[in-house]
Subunit: 161 residues, 2 copies
């Protein structure tokens, strides 16, 4: 499958602040892209690289709720957890994010769903940490594969909704 | 009452990242200073400037919990809310923080309790946002009075514990 230009995932490191910005367009309206982020059964189908399976352990997708999920490949397990600081349906998710393998790491993430019309959405996801070294280590850790393949899987989930 | 040099509140803006760092020492061990941060009845006694009263509306001080409180002065009301991303007793609180008067603002806060020995504690609180303009507006908003007076009130609370 070739990727249409509008479906390319753009990953940028901000020059001013220790933030990563991911931009991606989807052939589905904001309500559906949002739903695939807050429904745990849908989220488990697309999150992360293709060779990892996602198991949701806790999921309270409301302003003030918390979440935890585990990604597995054979015997390997990677846990992730955080809180949903704010959820505005179809519009915005603000959450904290922690990879449990780095107990002192925490990112503040914002996911915005922009209506492009014609049933299309631009997703802009930012991830903020408190040092450039941590931000750059995160980008160098191979997160790109997980993000790109995750959004390809999200295209497939959205096509079925 | 004169303030001993070790009880002075230091407020610094970071040069590299959009973060405010507050440092303050207390004549109480980390367990007590921590307790005054997570016990809602104690928190309400010291938080904010002297001329505002604090009313806690929601308070679930555990990793993954949420909080909301309101500060009042006569008919004026200011609401604040967020989530407790992580709580390590006597050691660390990581939380999100939002002033409801600025609906799109959110800060990622870390409060560290460092044991100085002899029943004393150094508190280091950082507040991270995603732009220098927002950070500088926060510092210019008069937060210093609330922080300084709040920690003076915390001295008084700790003396009674």
């Amino acid at each position: 499958m070739t990727t249409a230009p509008t479906r390319q995932t753009q990953i940028e490191v901000d020059q001013e602040v220790p933030l990563v910005r991911i931009t991606r367009e989807f052939d589905a309206p904001p309500e559906k892209v949002f739903r695939a982020h807050v429904d745990p059964a849908l989220f488990a189908q697309w999150s992360g690289p293709r060779d990892l399976a996602t198991r949701v352990e806790a999921w309270d997708a409301r302003t003030g709720g918390e979440y935890r999920f585990v990604q597995t490949r054979g015997a390997e397990e990677y846990g992730f957890r955080g809180t949903f600081h704010e959820i505005r349906p179809g519009e915005l998710i603000v959450q904290t994010f922690k990879f449990e393998g780095m107990p002192d790491g925490v990112a503040l993430e914002k996911v915005r769903f922009e209506d492009l019309g014609n049933g299309r959405t631009r997703l802009v996801a930012t991830s903020l940490v408190d040092s450039f070294a941590d931000r750059d280590a995160f980008v160098a850790s191979g997160m790109e594969t997980g993000v790109v393949e995750g959004y390809e899987q999200l295209d497939e989930v959205l096509a079925r909704l």
